[in-house]
Symmetry: C2
Subunit: 207 residues, 2 copies
Amino acid sequence: MTTANTERATRTRQRLLLAAAEIFDEAGYEGAAVTRIAERAGLTLGALYFHFGSKQGVAEALMNAQATTIEPHLDSTGLQRLVDITLVWAHRMQHDPILRAGVRLAVEQGSHGMNDATSFEDWRTLMRGLLETAQAEGELEDGVDTDRVARFIVAACTGMQVYSQLATGRADLTERVCDMWALLLPSIAPAAVHANISVDPQQVPAS
Amino acid sequence: MTTANTERATRTRQRLLLAAAEIFDEAGYEGAAVTRIAERAGLTLGALYFHFGSKQGVAEALMNAQATTIEPHLDSTGLQRLVDITLVWAHRMQHDPILRAGVRLAVEQGSHGMNDATSFEDWRTLMRGLLETAQAEGELEDGVDTDRVARFIVAACTGMQVYSQLATGRADLTERVCDMWALLLPSIAPAAVHANISVDPQQVPAS
């Protein structure tokens, strides 16, 4: 494809994802009709099938777009970047319908007959990479298992989101993420490193 | 009611909960018909409505029975009891259909039009109580916020269960619970206490 065509395809795909996120949010996954999604996007049903193949294809694309939805525009690296990403995620969960739909579908997928850990494994890989950088930079205590810690952070964020959504409509999600770091940092980072890590929602770019 | 009647009512209720757990597991919440639940329990539809009022009533009862389903028969107290309960929970999630259905419904309830944080708050209250005992016994570091830590553990267990279910059919859930304690104990307990806390799935009664 030419560059112009690629850009148009990307925009079309994004419009369909946003429309699907809105319709899933309003009608639930079971109640969402692909015709309504295409209509909301101002596109044909053919465009939807071309890009995603089926309703489940749209759902899988939403689930697997999570990590790329977090574009933190951050200069931080290593452990600070890992902290920042979770804070950006908590903030965007309250404002970004595509991210919110992806996370919700990933958690509730069992009730829609899906069984796909890909979005969780993508997060784990991304977080493990940041922890490996942190380890190479001497930011971690000796013996920290970067894969196990990454796996735990993905799980903890998943559960905080579910519980926060039910208890407060996600109003306390950022506070919960800060609590997590207050509990984890003393275990994984030496005191001198920990003292220099900022867990401050105010300092993280919102978009 | 007489004692015999109370016991019969408890047994009837338990048979309905077990049948509902099985049918929800097989057919999903949306696909589960109350007639099939009553039939599986060998009881009348009238008995189901008497005890639970509606399908949603059965679902709520399953969600809110989680904590009472964990009857650890443990002699431990305080922090050790909190660790033991999470290990018993991880073990029983693999074998107890009523507990499994309750946890799954609690997590996926949004897709069934429910919005009830009660089961999460019940766990938080139970865990906060154990942490308060631990605090009174000098088992916690100064300044530990028992409510915030309880809230985090409930969330972390929720997320570990979701992720473990999708990634390994819950085969690694116990390992994940052990990882959580390896990360949390250094932050909340002094080294001398931590050294005496056993995080050993083999030593926890299975039932």
